[in-house]
Amino acid sequence: MELLANLALGFQTALSLANVAYCFVGVLLGTLIGVLPGIGPVPTIAMLLPITYTLPPVSALIMLAGIFYGAQYGGSTTSILVNLPGEASSVVTCLDGYQMARQGRAGVARAIAAIGSFFAGTVSTVVLAAAGPLLGRLAITFGPAEYFSLMVLGLAGAVVLAHGSLLKAVAMTVLGLLLGLVGTDVNSGAQRYTFGVPELGDGIGFVIIAMGLFGFAEIITNLIGGGVTRDVTTARIGGLWPSRRDLREAAPAVLRGTVLGSVLGVLPGGGAMLSSFASYALEKKIAKDPSRFGRGAIEGVAGPESANNAGAQTSFIPMLTLGIPGNSVMALMVGALMIHNIQPGPQVMTGNPALFWGLVASMWIGNLMLVILNLPLIGMWVKLLTLPYRFMYPAILLFCAIGTYSLGNNTFDVFLAAGFGLVGWVLHELECPPAPLLLGSILGPMMEENLRRALLISAGDATVLVTRPISAGLLATAAVLVVLIAVPALRTKRQEAFQEES
């Protein structure tokens, strides 16, 4: 009954007037950026990070988390109505959701997506609440060797799930790790790679890297590609209520999507996007008549929409319990905690239970708000799509620039972020994935510190990484992941999965 007591504490925290308000702001902003193509959760959270400095940590996290899962809802609205995914994780929703809209069943599709998402959100909140303490207990037995290996596994996951060439993804990870080492070495006080610039002494904030690579570079590539053009020939939304037959068809898909998403979300590198792709593939595979898919099959909406929401939420598990971010959004969450001098890891749950459980409970409340925000107000969100990109991008740029400045109240950060915008454009041109670079840059100092400690304890014997069983297991899993992807048959499968997206 520990779980119930914990959840009670969580709801007590999350239901305070201020936290409900921050949760609402978060999911509202999340829905907004989910609807708008051209801006995703990563730059939005990066923009808002400096602002959260003035908030209590739990309110900050509740709001930022709301942006992340709120974006999943918003993204599916545009996928269904105008065949335009606002978020990468709702790409597959376009396939059947838009077809349903063309048959005049947009309202039903949106309702099923919302019901499925809410169900998945509820289940994954419980999963998070149950799995968190278990993993946390395991994590307390971890030594530096285990932590090092865990980070290797996390990076391997990020590499495997990156688009395109495996080799380039690995290289981007290593480059990110190196960027993370810029600044003062904690052990010796040596200034590394600072080029004598005092502002670099504290290292390159990864918020700045995120802002450059995901905020600025994205705008540049959008504009080079001729801007984001949208054809808003709004389909008739139709009735909202699904028929009994709709529900019967959708229910099993929702269940399968929830389970799949909950599991895949926990994996390093996993999260919303992988979950929705996997769920769509699964539904198509087990359907009696696969030819219905792509022509408005309700399972094709229900499954992936449930899966991406479940995955978005369970991806908090490794971040909250182990302190290891599995994707770029979680990396920024780690940053939000560190701004408040909270070191993410198993001690958060014991030392700061209101924070952990408050966040968990807020996700359920947030999901409820999203259902209300998205169903009756669907028409209003669609109107937003008529906002031309020529108004959107200067606003995003300005918010990013002010946000970057307010990180440390100095303009050096603004120039540095512009530099990373250039880097991001170059990487985009060379088809090098930016996400592994960002993850590497946050894990760099942690990896070095844990490797240093592990080797100090073992008197310089590197075999400690493979002789300790948990560490060996983690490294073996990482190796299996990379080898699997390098096998030609699976590589083509992976390419197919990503091709559907582009």
Binding site: A171, Y393, E431, E448
Partner: protein, 154 residues
């Protein structure tokens, strides 16, 4: 006869080799230490060497095989230059000229990145955005920054 069959992979490799070499060469100035007592140069040197190796493989493979349609696209510098210039202009203007001038600059310069620039529209839009940001960041969140140019004296 050497020919670059896959320019994207080739230049990615070159980039990695350069960054890795830079890390190793600069890393030589930091104490390397031993495995049991890693100095500040230990981890970056290993990473740098790894990056060089990865870069060599990527570039090497790009010389031997490519996959057809991977030539670099035509370069249109305008969006790149204007977007980056608008951010830099913002950074330069902010400390002395304040948020109002800096954000107007950012909006005007960045709008030059896309076609269809109309002065009236851009100025009105910029003014609205500036007012919003001033309200949110300076009055609301109390981010310490100048609002109007310093020489106007406040």
């Amino acid at each position: 006869m050497m020919r670059i069959r896959d320019p994207r992979d080739f230049w990615s490799g070159v980039l990695c080799i350069a960054a890795g070499l830079g890390a190793v060469v600069m890393g030589r100035r930091y104490e390397f230490g031993t495995a049991a007592a890693m100095g500040p140069g230990y981890f970056p040197t290993i990473l740098g060497a790894l990056l060089v190796a990865l870069g060599l493989v990527a570039s090497g493979r790009a010389l031997r095989r490519g996959h057809g349609q991977s030539a670099l696209g035509a370069f249109r510098p305008r969006p790149l230059v204007m977007v980056l210039a608008s951010i830099v202009a913002f950074g330069v203007a902010l400390p002395k000229l304040g948020l109002v001038v800096a954000s107007m600059l950012l909006v005007v310069v960045s709008r030059l990145a896309a076609p269809g620039f109309r002065w009236l529209e851009v100025l009105v839009f910029g003014a609205a955005l500036t007012a919003l940001c001033s309200a949110v960041f300076v009055w609301g969140l109390k981010v310490p920054m100048l609002l109007w140019p310093a020489f106007l004296g406040q």
